[in-house]
C-alpha cells in the first residue's frame, strides 16, 4: 500500500508539450482512472511514473519518497502495457514469475506466488504455453498477472482491456475492482471508455490536452462536469448542447429555446449577456404533450440497449436527443410533442472557452 503523489509533472517531445502541470495525490489503495480522448498523453503519463521515460519538470513521490530519478527496476511498480509486451521467448509462467525471480525468489515460494495470481485470473491451465499460443484474453490476463505478481505498491494499467473482445471486457470490468482492491496497490488505470472509467474508478482524472481538467468521483464528473469537453466525454448519447444567450428576467435569468422561454433561476446570473451553451443530458429529457414544453417534432426513434433514443427537432431547427427507458416510449415519428426538463438538470457553459458558468461551477 502506498500513496502516490505527482507534483507538477511536465513532459514535451521535440518541443511539443505533451503533459503540463500534472498534479495528483492518491490515497492508499485508491483506484484512479486516467480518462481522456486518444493522443492526450495518458500513456506518456504512465511511462513517466514507471520511469521508462524521463520527465522534464516536476516530481514523483511514492510514500513520500522522491523516486523521480530512481531507475524503473527500483520503483516497486507493476505495469500492464496496452500491447501486453509479454516476453515472447518465455512461457506464461516465466512471464508472470519475472518480478519474483528478479528478487532472487525461487523454488516453492516463487511457484506459489505465480499460481496464486494465475488462479485469481483463471489462467493457471495455460501457464506452460508460450505467449504466441495464448488467446488475446489470456495474453491480457498474463500481462495483468505479471504486473500483480510482485505485489507492487503502485499498479499502472494502460488500457488493459483495449485489445480484448467485448464479452471479456465486460467480464473483466466486473472482476477487476475486487481484484485490484485485494492487491492493495494504488492503481492508476488508463482508459478511453467512459463506462469502464465509471465502473472502476474511486476517482476519475480527466486528461485533456495534457492537463487534468477535472479530478473527481464518477458521479461528480457526470453530474457536475467542469467544462463542455468533459460533459461531452461522459454519456451515450452525448449531452444536448443548445446555443443560448441568457438575459435578465423578472425572477432571475431566462433563455429562449424555440417557442419557449425558460427561467433558469437566479443562480445563473453570471451568464447574463454571454453567448452560452445550455447542456441537458438526454436522460433528463421528458417527452410529453405539445402544450407546455418546447414544441418539437419527432424525427426518429432508435432502440438502444433497453432504452429508446429519440431525435427531435425544435421549431427553430435545434436538434435534441432524448433517451428514455424503452417501455416508456410514447412518441411516434412525425408527431408533435413538447420537451420538458428540470432546472436542476441544466448545465451552462461559456460558448467561447467551454468553461462551466453559474450554479455548480467550480465544484
Amino acid at each position: 500500500m502506498a500513496r502516490l503523489e505527482l507534483k507538477a509533472l511536465a513532459k514535451s517531445f521535440k518541443g511539443n508539450a505533451v503533459l503540463s502541470d500534472i498534479s495528483l495525490s492518491t490515497a492508499q489503495g485508491e483506484i484512479v482512472v486516467i480518462f481522456g480522448p486518444s493522443g492526450t498523453g495518458k500513456t506518456v503519463l504512465l511511462r513517466l511514473i514507471a520511469g521508462v521515460d524521463d520527465l522534464d519538470r516536476g516530481a514523483i513521490l511514492v510514500d513520500g519518497r522522491d523516486v523521480t530519478d530512481v531507475a524503473p527496476d527500483r520503483r516497486d511498480i507493476g505495469m500492464a502495457f496496452q500491447n501486453f509486451a509479454l516476453f515472447p521467448h518465455m512461457s506464461a509462467f516465466d512471464n508472470i514469475a519475472s518480478p519474483l525471480t528478479a528478487r532472487r525468489m525461487n523454488g516453492q515460494a516463487m511457484r506459489d506466488g505465480v499460481m496464486g495470481v494465475a488462479r485469481m485470473l483463471k489462467i493457471d491451465h495455460v501457464l506452460d504455453h508460450a505467449p504466441r499460443e495464448l488467446s488475446n484474453g489470456q495474453k491480457q490476463r498474463t500481462a495483468l498477472a505479471r504486473a500483480l505478481a510482485g505485489s507492487p505498491k503502485i499498479l499502472l494499467l494502460d488500457d488493459p482491456l483495449r485489445n480484448v473482445d467485448a464479452k471479456l471486457r465486460y467480464e473483466m470490468r466486473l472482476e477487476l475492482p475486487p481484484l485490484l482492491k485485494q492487491s492493495g496497490a494504488t492503481v492508476l488505470y488508463v482508459t478511453q471508455d467512459y463506462k469502464e472509467a465509471m465502473a472502476l474508478a474511486d476517482r476519475i482524472a480527466v486528461l485533456i490536452d495534457g492537463r487534468f481538467v477535472q479530478v473527481a468521483s464518477s458521479e461528480e464528473i457526470y453530474l457536475n462536469p467542469a467544462s463542455v469537453r468533459v460533459a461531452r466525454l461522459f454519456g451515450d448519447p452525448t449531452i444536448n448542447l443548445i446555443e443560448v444567450v441568457p438575459r435578465e428576467s423578472a425572477v432571475g435569468v431566462a433563455v429562449s429555446i424555440g417557442n419557449k422561454v425558460l427561467e433558469l433561476g437566479a443562480g445563473h446570473r453570471a451568464a447574463v449577456g454571454r453567448p452560452a451553451l445550455l447542456g441537458v443530458r438526454p436522460e433528463a429529457m421528458r417527452i410529453g404533450a405539445p402544450n407546455g414544453g418546447i414544441a418539437a417534432r419527432v424525427i426518429a426513434v432508435t432502440p438502444l440497449n433497453e432504452r429508446a433514443v429519440t431525435l427531435l427537432k425544435t421549431q427553430d431547427g435545434q436538434e435534441i436527443l432524448a433517451s428514455q427507458p424503452a417501455q416508456d416510449r410514447t412518441a411516434e415519428p412525425d408527431s408533435d410533442v413538447g420537451i420538458h426538463f428540470d432546472e436542476k438538470d441544466i448545465l451552462l457553459f461559456d460558448q467561447s472557452n467551454g468553461a462551466r458558468i453559474g450554479a455548480g461551477a467550480g465544484a
Binding site: 496496452q82 509479454l86 516476453f87 508460450a130
Partner: protein
C-alpha cells in the same frame, strides 16, 4: 490448403529442378573431380564414370603433392586451420563489438549517431585494394604484418559493418515495451539486455554471424598482402596448386570440397537459429 492442379505441380517441379541443377551441378562436378586424377579430369569427352581415387585428399592431408616434376610441399591443412582461426576470431570479435553497438544504435539517439553508423557501413564501399596500400604501411610500423591479431583486426572491415547493420534492424524490430516491462519487473539494464534483447534478436545475430563468417572465409586480398605463407588462409593457399608442371585440378577440387565443408556445417547448424517469427504474438500488432 490452396488448390493446386496436377499440371501446375509438375511444371513447378520441373522449374525448381532446373534451378537446382543450374546451381548445384558445378558443386556436384567439383565433388566428382576431387576423386579423379588430372588425367581423367582432362580427358575428352568428359565422363561421369571413372575409377575413384582418394589420392587428392591424401596429398592435401599429408601435405605431399606428387607431380610429374617431383614432390612438392603444400601447407593446405595449415591454411585450412588459418582460415578457421581467422574467420572465427574475426566473427567473435565483431559480435563482441558489433552486437552492443547495434543495440546502442537501435535504442538510443545520440549526437552523430547516424553518422558513426554510416561511417562504419562505408567501410564496405571502399575497394579493398585502395585501403590495403596505406594499411600495409601502417601494419609494418605497428609490427602487425603477418600476425593473426593484425589479420583479425583487418577482417573487422568485413565483419563489423555487416553484423552492426543486420543486428541493428533486428533490435529495432523488438518492441521497446518488452524491455521496459522486464525492467519494471525489477531487472537491471544489463540483465534486460542479456535476457530479453539478445535472445529476441538471436535469429538476426545468427544470420549476421554466418554471413560475416562466409565473407571472412572467402576473403583473398587482405591475407595475400598482409600475411606470409604461415598465416595464409585457404583462399590464398590455393594458389600453390598452380605448379610448374601444370594446374592440379584434382587437388584444387578436393581443396574446395574441404574448404566449403566448415561453412556448410556452420550454415546447417545456424539454420535452427535463423527461424523467424519467435516474437510473433508477443505484442498485439
Amino acid at each position: 490448403m490452396e488448390h493446386v492442379s496436377t499440371t501446375e505441380r509438375v511444371v513447378r517441379g520441373i522449374l525448381i529442378g532446373l534451378v537446382l541443377i543450374f546451381f548445384l551441378f558445378p558443386i556436384f562436378w567439383i565433388f566428382l573431380m576431387s576423386f579423379q586424377t588430372n588425367e581423367t579430369i582432362l580427358r575428352i569427352p568428359p565422363s561421369l564414370f571413372f575409377e575413384p581415387t582418394i589420392s587428392n585428399y591424401k596429398a592435401l592431408i599429408t601435405g605431399r603433392l606428387e607431380t610429374t616434376a617431383g614432390d612438392l610441399d603444400i601447407a593446405f591443412m595449415r591454411n585450412l586451420g588459418n582460415s578457421v582461426l581467422l574467420s572465427t576470431g574475426a566473427v567473435l570479435l565483431s559480435l563482441l563489438l558489433g552486437v552492443p553497438a547495434a543495440y546502442a544504435f537501435a535504442r538510443f539517439r545520440f549526437r552523430l549517431g547516424e553518422n558513426i553508423a554510416f561511417t562504419l557501413l562505408s567501410f564496405r564501399f571502399a575497394p579493398p585494394l585502395l585501403v590495403l596500400l596505406p594499411l600495409s604501411l601502417y601494419f609494418k610500423q605497428l609490427g602487425l604484418t603477418d600476425t593473426y591479431v593484425g589479420l583479425i583486426w583487418v577482417y573487422q572491415l568485413i565483419c563489423l559493418p555487416l553484423i552492426l547493420w543486420i543486428v541493428r534492424g533486428y533490435f529495432e524490430d523488438i518492441s521497446p515495451d518488452i524491455e521496459h516491462a522486464y525492467r519494471i519487473s525489477g531487472n537491471s539494464w544489463l540483465r534486460t539486455f542479456f535476457r530479453i534483447a539478445i535472445p529476441l534478436a538471436r535469429p538476426g545475430i545468427a544470420a549476421a554471424a554466418l554471413l560475416a563468417f562466409i565473407f571472412a572465409w572467402n576473403n583473398f586480398i587482405f591475407a595475400l598482402i598482409l600475411a606470409s605463407a604461415s598465416k595464409q588462409p585457404v583462399t590464398v593457399g590455393a594458389l600453390a596448386f598452380v605448379t610448374a608442371s601444370g594446374i592440379q585440378y584434382g587437388q584444387i577440387a578436393a581443396a574446395i570440397v574441404l574448404s566449403v565443408t566448415p561453412t556448410l556445417l556452420l550454415a546447417l547448424y545456424a539454420q535452427r537459429y535463423l527461424v523467424e517469427g519467435l516474437s510473433l504474438g508477443a505484442v498485439k500488432g
